[in-house]
């Protein structure tokens, strides 16, 4: 069976044999860092192109098709353009905070990558409070957005940032509660344990209807948390031109842009891990031969397949739905999603205690 675990152990053994333990650890850090940044940049390019192609497909047009075969190098060309562009800082802006904000947003997105299991035995940091870590770190990104909006000294940016603040703080609750409903089933916060607990079937199938409800709530809430349409009030092109990043240009804008896509990837990866089994292949109870066949598909393909399916779902939302109004957005969270997910959590706890799940 093909597995990335053998590669990682091979590298670690070799490093430990060749260098002193401290130096080996240092090299491991470097390797992981380089890999993370490469993944980051690669994902950004792929997701931007994917978004444009999905949009084109939905909007009965072709999308980028001039740079490279089928327009594959379009995002690369865009990146080069953005790097070459001048990064303006407006006169009235708070220069330090203005320039700091994109890095905070970016850093948060990078940090959250750590506990995600990309494949079997391929995880940067198997921390035992993985889910808590993810939700704690990802809520920091609102600070970056508020900072960007405030420091820009632009009224549109300020309005966008304030909207974003209200939105992200409230939708955090629903994300947390729907994630909790899986935690009560697994009894562990570690992402690796959660994946392993889905050995005989994914939670969305095993957890009855409450699991499906919390999956739906999770998808809605993370769409809102990543500021994607139909919840893109922070940007709201037709109302606030570009919301909190109105004043940003060049690479500083690109960092916000990239962070948005990485955030989508992360929330979809978390969603895939919690509800769809992460890198775990599609297993059905004790159908040994069927499960064995499924195991032949490499685990990273399972992981990326599920994640990209969820990403496609979120992109589909964006190109189909109109935007909500700010009061409707908060109503949806506080009057509908939050009570439903609270009730759902209680139901899920009951199922977990009674052992009714499969």
């Amino acid at each position: 069976m093909f597995s990335l675990e053998s590669i990682t152990t091979l590298v670690q053994d070799w490093l430990n044999k060749t260098f002193s333990p401290n130096l080996a650890l240092f090299f491991e850090f470097v390797i992981v860092g380089v890999l993370a940044i490469t993944l980051f940049a690669g994902l950004g390019l792929v997701l931007v192109l994917m978004e444009r192609k999905v949009a084109a497909w939905i909007q009965i047009r072709l999308g980028p098709n001039r740079v490279g075969p089928k327009g594959m190098f379009q995002s690369l060309a865009d990146t080069i353009k953005l790097i070459m562009k001048e990064g303006l800082t407006p006169d009235g802006a708070d220069k330090f905070l203005f320039n700091l904000a994109p890095f905070i947003v970016m850093m948060v997105a990078m940090l959250v990558l750590a506990p995600i299991g990309f494949a079997k035995g391929f995880q940067i940091w198997d921390i035992n409070i993985g889910v808590l870590y993810v939700s704690a770190i990802s809520s920091v990104s609102v600070i970056g957005i508020l900072m960007a909006g405030w420091a820009s000294n632009n009224k549109y940016s300020l309005l966008g940032a304030m909207r974003s603040g209200a939105q992200m703080v409230s939708y955090e609750l629903s994300v947390g509660l729907s994630v909790l409903s899986i935690i009560v089933l697994t009894g562990s916060l570690g992402l690796n344990d959660i994946v392993l607990s889905q050995q005989d079937g994914w939670w969305i199938f095993k957890g009855h209807i409450p699991a499906i409800i919390s999956f739906v709530i999770f998808i809605i809430a993370v769409t809102a948390e990543t500021n994607r349409a139909p919840f893109d009030l922070a940007e709201a092109e037709s109302e606030l031109t570009a919301g909190f990043h109105t004043e940003y240009s060049g690479m500083k804008f690109a960092l916000f842009f990239l962070a948005e896509y990485i955030n989508i990837f992360i929330v979809c990866a978390i969603g895939a891990t919690l509800f769809l089994g992460g890198w775990m292949p599609f297993h059905i109870g004790n159908w040994e031969s069927f499960n064995h066949v499924m195991d032949y598909i490499p685990s990273f393909l399972w992981f990326f397949g599920k994640t990209f399916f969820l990403i496609f779902l979120i992109m589909w939302f964006r190109w189909t739905f109109p935007r909500l109004r700010v009061d409707q957005l908060l109503n949806l969270e506080w009057k509908y999603l939050l009570p439903i997910s609270m009730f759902n959590l209680i139901l899920m706890t009951l199922i977990a205690i009674k052992g009714w799940h499969f």
Partner: protein, 371 residues
């Protein structure tokens, strides 16, 4: 709080929407006083695209001035031209051949459909849905192609002249219009599926930008915006021109007065235009497409007024003639200007997002407001 609405006080957030802003679809400048997200006052500033068309018309002959009016409301260029041609014909008492009349009405209604298509796409885009724009353009392009073939232009057609139309119909005209009707009918359900039935869209539109029938009359709001408030103001029905009195179509009326009512009026008006086109497309009479007119037109001394129904409302053309070859004074009563004046009244006390929805349903074309 309530009594404060309408006044700018220290500490209010004043933002400029426009002259360059995605929501205004042109160079309209709105100075908006906000209290948080709530609108206290909307103050439109005009003049960014003023080309003094009315003044220019004074130095152009009665054949020439019509061409400048294509640039007023560029989405219903045919209907603008039509109004001017009708006004000149009224002064000269020219009898327009029936073929020309039918062609004119056909073109008017096709223009109305094309204009409403664009509005539908832009409306959805204002609310944050980008896809409907492309779906609307799929149909609109077909109409533009038909126009291009017959009139030689896609947007500023300049096809109506005093006495009839500039040229005869292209031989392909009938078959292409029939193809368009077929395409439109096979796609119309997508409009409801994609936008009208969407729960987010309905929540954004219903109860937003309310305009009562009394206010609509006092602000002079006409066209689909006025009919959304239940004001019967279809010039084609009330003051029929050309062959409209012989045609079977309904004046679309909604009584709710909110953005959704205005939206529904426009959607249903497209159906009525389709109905008119269907009635006429197989019954274009033979004959002249242009009446015999003198080389130089001279209107008798006097004042002439003609109103037509454009895609946006009532367009009035008022010509004062001193008996010369050029008009002494021309005044256009453009629907967009009056409709815009109601915007402040409609949006006070609502959220910033509602402004975009209300403005979208008024279907403002800025060159029509400024002229």
């Amino acid at each position: 709080m309530v009594e404060e609405i309408g006044k700018t006080v220290e500490g209010d957030l004043v933002i400029n929407v426009g002259p360059q802003h995605p929501a205004t679809h042109g160079v309209l400048h709105l100075v908006i006083t906000l209290n948080g997200e709530t609108i206290k006052k909307v103050e439109p500033h005009l003049g960014y695209i003023h080309r003094s068309i009315e003044k220019m018309c004074e130095s152009l002959s009665y054949r020439q001035f019509i061409y400048t009016t294509s640039r007023m409301d560029y989405l219903s260029a045919h209907i603008n031209n039509h109004a001017c041609a009708l006004c000149v014909e009224k002064g000269l008492q020219i009898e327009v051949p029936e073929r020309a009349q039918v062609i004119r009405v056909l073109m008017d209604e096709l223009t109305r459909i094309a204009s409403h298509e664009l509005w539908w796409g832009a409306m959805a885009m204002d609310l944050g849905a980008f896809t409907p724009f492309f779906h609307a353009f799929r149909e609109r392009e077909t109409i533009n192609d038909i126009m291009e073939e017959t009139c030689g232009a896609r947007l500023t057609m300049n096809y109506m002249v005093p006495g009839g139309v500039m040229a005869d119909l292209h031989p392909n005209f009938q078959s292409r219009v029939k193809n368009f009707l077929q395409l439109y009918k096979s796609k119309i359900h997508e409009y409801d599926e994609l936008v009208t039935g969407n729960i987010i869209f309905q929540n954004r539109m219903k109860g937003v930008g309310y305009l009562s029938a009394e206010d609509a009359i006092s602000y002079g709001v006409t066209g689909p915006a006025g009919r959304g408030s239940g004001v019967s103001c279809d010039v084609r029905k009330l003051y029929p021109y050309e062959i409209y009195s012989k045609l079977q179509f309904d004046e679309v009326l909604e009584t709710a007065g909110d953005s959704f009512a205005r939206y529904m009026v426009r959607l249903r008006e497209m159906q009525q235009s389709i109905r008119i086109v269907e009635q006429l497309i197989d019954n274009i009479p033979d004959g002249e497409y242009q009446a015999k007119t003198k080389a130089v037109l001279k209107l008798p001394k006097g004042e002439f007024y003609q109103r037509v129904e454009t895609a946006r409302g009532e367009l009035g053309v008022y010509i004062v003639s001193e008996g010369g070859t050029t008009p002494y004074r021309i005044k256009f009563r453009s629907p967009g200007f009056s409709n815009l004046s109601a915007l402040d009244h409609m949006t006070r006390g609502e959220k910033l997002g509602d402004l975009v929805a209300s403005m979208g349903t008024l279907d403002l074309v800025i060159p029509d407001i400024d002229r």
